[in-house]
Symmetry: C2
Subunit: 165 residues, 2 copies
Amino acid sequence: MDQKAIQDYYPAEISQCYGCGRLNEHGLQLKSRWDGQEMVAIFRPQAYHCGISGFVYGGLIASLIDCHAMGTASAASYRAENRAPDTDPPFRFVTGSLQVRYVRPTPLGPPLEVRARVKEIKGRKVTVGVTLSVQGRICAKGEVVAVQMPDHMMPGKENNAGGGE
Amino acid sequence: MDQKAIQDYYPAEISQCYGCGRLNEHGLQLKSRWDGQEMVAIFRPQAYHCGISGFVYGGLIASLIDCHAMGTASAASYRAENRAPDTDPPFRFVTGSLQVRYVRPTPLGPPLEVRARVKEIKGRKVTVGVTLSVQGRICAKGEVVAVQMPDHMMPGKENNAGGGE
């Protein structure tokens, strides 16, 4: 797992994401890499990322699952076409829907391991299954539908924001 | 809507939550208040809370929906018993599951209005429906199952963390 993270292939104009943008200095800077047929990301939460004292905040868990699934959708789309993530045309995704089931309380302290696998690629949608584990124990499960980014969301076209109805 | 927020009734030992704890100085400090039969919270995102430039980060949206739903479950449980939130026995909830559907891109800039309504109270579970709007337009919809906090999660009992299987 020493290869470059998928997020490090994203061009600068889409690298501001709070969850995984390498250029967002306030953000979480999640990094997702291939490990066989799965993508994996390791995240070390801060002490202030708690919900109830001693446990990881559920919103952080949802955030990590969300960004890791977007990265997985992107990486898998390139892989399906047997080409590198820095080749054109680009695959950029946004979240269509996010489901998280909190299987058990997530202890705050050890690194969080987030693993994802593509369940389906269908047109512009990719469905991704995700687990979040601590020390080998699954604490949350997610299913995320990633949708290829509509043109009006591309940076520089913000005036069309919200026009997707 | 000038009444005290439900989160300001939470005792100090459960007020560290990153999303809504009044004692977490790094956190979002969401405040949820009654407005008729709904609970409402207004949140002003920072510039760094972006996903794609110009749009709100989906993980932040999930976080706000999560915490607002927990506050709603708690407030509604007291209301169902016709008593104030600072009376015993306390109602404390954790997230069982979270679903978010991103209806349209959420423009980053104006305040976010989060509204929630209880759909069902059944035993220890409360199901809450949530919308997140910008300038009157719904951008995301959520459904959250809140579960009364198990005893082993109460601060001071962290040694039992993760023993819920």
